[in-house]
């Protein structure tokens, strides 16, 4: 006697058979599931593909140039005779940009976020928040133009005592990149602060804390993981930013802390080289893979460092 027979006899003659098996195979559901898995796998595969292609190019490069020379060399002159492949000048160039960008984005972005999350009346928020999100989408080439033709002369007017020797200036480029990432930092930090439970604010207010104290001593520390995440996103953006840097920072690979200097960055080098007329297969050509791989490792290391930092300092609620 099979299970079906029992079910049939139990339910009585002529009635519907009760079965625990699926009524139909539901192919549609399986197809959708397969499609979704495919989509998810696709983006992962693309990422792996990008990393691999960088890696293979970089391996070709390091056949010609020793890794140590590349990482510790202070002279960057691919395409010159004799060629030099010390990457430090353009790495320092990128750090320059990050420094000036953070000098702008940390105070402006965080203070905007505190204002939006804690001080702004609802109607101001309703206008400002979408505007921030629009600002995030401004084409970077427009920011580059604005940096070159507005910000750079303005900087010279404001600080005439500095040595403005070239039409480019890494400090100005960094500030422009900083303004570019302010909306990102402000928006993500604002979200983080607003997700802090209102009960914590009430608790602090009930102890006679002023609004400033509640914001800085209770809300900001409780939101620190989101705030740090916003800064990491901002730094990644500043490290990866190419167009503004190409247009405003110039293209001289040199180690300099002078904000008025013309300086090439890692991305600047990739941008100029990839769009220049360098024949494929040469060592000069492979620099962009090596430098690209370095950029990838740098941002990855930074993100992992930030995650550790956040775990260490996060104030867990609930």
């Amino acid at each position: 006697m099979t299970a079906h027979d029992i079910a049939a006899s139990g339910a009585g003659a002529g009635s519907l058979r009760r079965s625990l098996e699926a009524a139909s195979p539901r192919y549609g559901e399986r197809a959708i599931r397969a499609f979704l898995v495919g989509c998810a796998a696709f983006s992962v595969l693309v990422t792996i593909g990008i990393v691999l292609s960088l890696l293979f190019g970089a391996i070709d490069f390091f056949r010609a140039v020793p890794v140590l020379d590349f990482l510790t060399g202070t002279d960057w002159a691919p395409g010159f005779e004799p060629a030099a492949f010390g990457v430090l000048p353009i790495v320092v160039g990128t750090l320059n940009i990050v420094f000036w960008a953070l000098a702008v984005a940390v105070p402006v972005g965080l203070l905007s976020a505190i204002y939006l999350a804690e001080y702004a009346p609802a109607r101001v928020r309703r206008v400002v928040k979408p505007m921030l999100e629009v600002l995030e989408g401004i084409p970077t080439v427009a920011i580059g133009l604005w940096g070159l033709f507005f910000l750079r002369p303005l900087a010279e007017d404001l600080f005439p005592f500095l040595a403005w020797s070239t039409p480019h200036a890494v400090g100005v480029a960094g500030v422009a990149v900083g303004l570019l990432i302010v909306p990102l930092v402000a928006s993500v930090s604002d979200d983080a602060m607003r997700s802090v439970p209102g009960s914590l604010r009430e608790g602090a207010y009930a102890l006679g804390a002023s609004k400033l104290r509640v914001s800085l001593r209770v809300v900001l520390p409780a939101a620190v993981s989101g705030v740090v995440a916003s800064l990491v996103l901002g730094v990644s953006r500043a490290v990866g930013e190419t167009m503004v840097v190409l247009m405003v920072a110039g293209a001289r690979p040199q180690i300099s802390v002078d904000p008025t200097a013309s300086v090439q960055t890692v991305t600047g080098h990739i941008g100029t080289t990839a769009t220049g007329d360098i024949s494929t297969g040469t060592t000069d050509y492979y620099t962009i893979f090596a430098v690209g791989a370095l950029l990838f490792v740098l941002t990855l290391a930074m993100n992992m460092f930030a995650i550790r930092l956040v775990r260490r300092f996060r104030e867990v609620y609930e």
């Binding site: 609802a122 439970p197 009930a206 102890l207 520390p221 867990v316």
Partner: protein, 283 residues
């Protein structure tokens, strides 16, 4: 503008027999026709009552009767809700609590509050208690202040070896006692408690009730509670609020039905609605 704090210490040295008389003498709050609206919706209407010094005053009543709204008027927490409007007269030791020169931040330094759900800051146990004293710039050794507050809240022995641990590692009852320690660390004049035990188990509740009876020696306490046994156990005075409907029957608001000695409210209430509620016929 600092609100002056009258010196009432002499009251505590009077003999216990006179206590019944004493507690009705010194008024901490005087409410005269106090109404609260949220936008156009009335929440509480025309509440008049006196809240006495070094008493435990309980506010009881069904959900939606405006108990929480009313208690939040007393330390101007309602100011944090943009649509809230408070009307009528509310005096604190004779001074208009809603006067144009009164600073709500200053008010809250004198009138502490404990909330329904324990809300410790996501900081160490020590920093939680130290937050208030640091905020008001209290003089003296901060470690001593923290230890005293934790001792008075009956939490010291449980946490003295882990003051640097995060407060969220404590149990719910411990967290609530931490919140009480945090509130008393600044030596306030009044402690408001908005259903402080509703999220706690009976043992933690009993501990907090004992604590309230101890704290009463030094502070005036106003407590909102859903638990009538709790009101009967701990309070000296009880106010019963009830939900009423507006004339057009569209909105509900809270109204003070009866306010008297707790023993009277629970044994011989003047209003039949109070009797129905405390005997469990409604609500």
């Amino acid at each position: 503008m600092p609100v002056p704090m009258p010196d009432t210490r002499e009251l505590t040295v009077r003999p216990a027999a006179a206590a019944k008389e004493v507690h009705r003498v010194d008024k901490t709050f005087e409410l005269r026709r106090v109404s609260v609206r949220y936008g156009d919706n009335p929440a509480v209407k025309d509440v008049s009552m006196d809240i006495f010094h070094k008493n435990i005053t309980a506010l009881i009543g069904p959900s939606g009767c405006g108990k929480s709204t009313l208690i939040r008027c007393l330390n101007r927490m309602n100011d944090l809700i943009p649509s809230a409007r408070v009307e009528g007269e509310l005096r604190y030791h004779g001074e208009d609590l809603y006067g144009s020169r009164v600073d709500p931040v200053q008010v809250r330094k004198l009138i502490g509050m404990v909330f329904q759900k324990p809300n410790p800051f996501p900081k160490s146990i020590f920093d939680n208690v130290a937050f208030g004293p640091r905020t008001i710039g209290m003089k003296g050794d901060i470690r001593e202040i923290v230890e005293n507050a934790l001792r008075r809240a009956g939490l010291w022995n449980e946490v003295k070896n882990r003051l640097k641990d995060n407060a969220y590692g404590l149990s719910g009852g411990q967290q609530q006692r931490l919140c009480i320690a945090r509130a008393i660390a600044t030596e306030p004049d009044v402690i408001l408690m908005d259903e402080p035990c509703s999220a706690l188990d009976p043992i933690s509740t009993a501990r907090i009730e004992d604590l309230m009876l101890e704290l009463k020696e030094r502070y005036s306490i106003v407590i909102v509670t859903h638990n009538m046994q709790q009101a009967a156990r701990v309070s000296d005075m009880t106010a019963f609020l009830m939900v009423e409907l507006t004339a057009d029957e569209k909105t509900r608001y809270g109204e003070l039905i009866e306010y008297d000695d707790t023993s009277k409210v629970f044994t011989n209430p003047a209003d039949s609605r109070t009797e129905d509620y405390i005997s469990g016929k409604v609500g």
